[in-house]
Every structure is written in structure tokens, then in C-alpha cells.
Amino acid sequence: MRDNDDPLRGYRPAGPPPGLRARIVREAEGARAPSLREWLPAIATAALIGLLYIAATGIRARVYSQLIDPADVPEVEVLSP
């Protein structure tokens, strides 16, 4: 080695590629923005709740339609033998 005081002989590690800063800033924006994937479980849960509510409403209407209003039931007279 020519010079023990400078083992790198006047060289140093090369600097970063010019596009690295832009790459990091761009990726940082993506890392912060909430993605659709993050919201997917919440959207699916809301959709399921909506479907169940609609189905329950239909069933409830059908059950009510089959029930007889007590006011419509004719009185029955029970005769003793």
C-alpha cells in the first residue's frame, strides 16, 4: 500500500444513485396512503350486515303476514254438553 494514512488512496464509496430520493419519497407516499386492501375487511363486514338486515326484513314481513290479527278471529261459543 502506498499510504498507510489513507488506505482508500483518495477514493470513497460512491454516492447514491440520482433516483433514490424520488424512489423513497414515492414509496413513502404509497406506504402512508390507506390502500383498498386495508379497508377490505371493513367493507366486507358492512356489506354482510346490510345483506343480513335485508334478509331479516323480508322474513319478518313474511312471518307477520301469516299471523292472524286477534281482532279478526270470530268468537267461538263453547256449549256445555
Binding site: P7, P13, A14, G15, I24
Partner: protein, 157 residues
Amino acid sequence: MPRPDDEWIGRLYDRYGAALYRYASMVLADPAGAADVVQTVFLSLVRRRSTPEFDERYLRRAVRNECFTALRKRRRDVLASASPVLEAIDPARDRPDERLALERALGELPPDQREVVHLKVVEGMTFQEIADLTDESINTIASRYRYALDKLRAHLT
């Protein structure tokens, strides 16, 4: 117009990015790997969504940890890369044959020896400061530096 967070990460990169990249590039002897390491560290800061109070010491440690994780994963110290690891401080004195020989010699060193050479020669840190950063004894660091110089000398003569 960029959002404030973009300016924050950009400013942090402007302040520390080049030095951290050079450090990673020397430890890995791989410029492409160094770019990935620096990007990983900066994005991990963004994902924390915490107050951006990171000093150089913290960032250097994070880059160091990421470098050695990358080295463990790839199982090889040196990968062929199209980008040069070194550049002349004074471009007028650049001698490509000498630079390539030095790159090859550095590539033959273990990463922890390259790291000590970088921190001592390029960053101008003392052995004590390097020992603090690497959690090693000052004697270990001094030995690594001496071994590294001996090996470089052997490769370059």
C-alpha cells in the same frame, strides 16, 4: 404540491441519505443492495407514523442492522454489480485500474472489517465511537482495522 410528510422524509434523506448510502454500500460492497437498505430504513420510519425525531446515530444503527440482515439472507459478501462501489474524491485523479483493484481488495474483506475501515477513514470516527456503534470493545475494533489494513496491503502489493 407535496404533502408535509413528503417534505419531511425528503428533508431527512437530503440530510443523511448520502452518508447512510455510502456506509451501506461499503458494508455490503454492493451499491444496489445499499439502495435497498436505505430505502427500507426510510420507509420503516414512515410506517411508524411517529414524530420524525431521528438523529444520525439512530439512523446509522438502523442501516447497520438492515445491512447485516441483508448479508445473512444472501449468504454472500460480494455480489457483482454494474455500479462502482468507489469514486475518486478528486475526479481528476481517478485511475480506473487502481479503483477497481481497490474495490476487489475491499470485496475480499469481511463486512465488519470494511465497516471499520469506512467509519474510520471516510467518516473520521474514533475507535471508541465505532466501538459504541457496533457494541464491540475498542480492542476488537482496533484489531479489525489493523487486519483490514494488512489484508488491503497484501491484495494491493
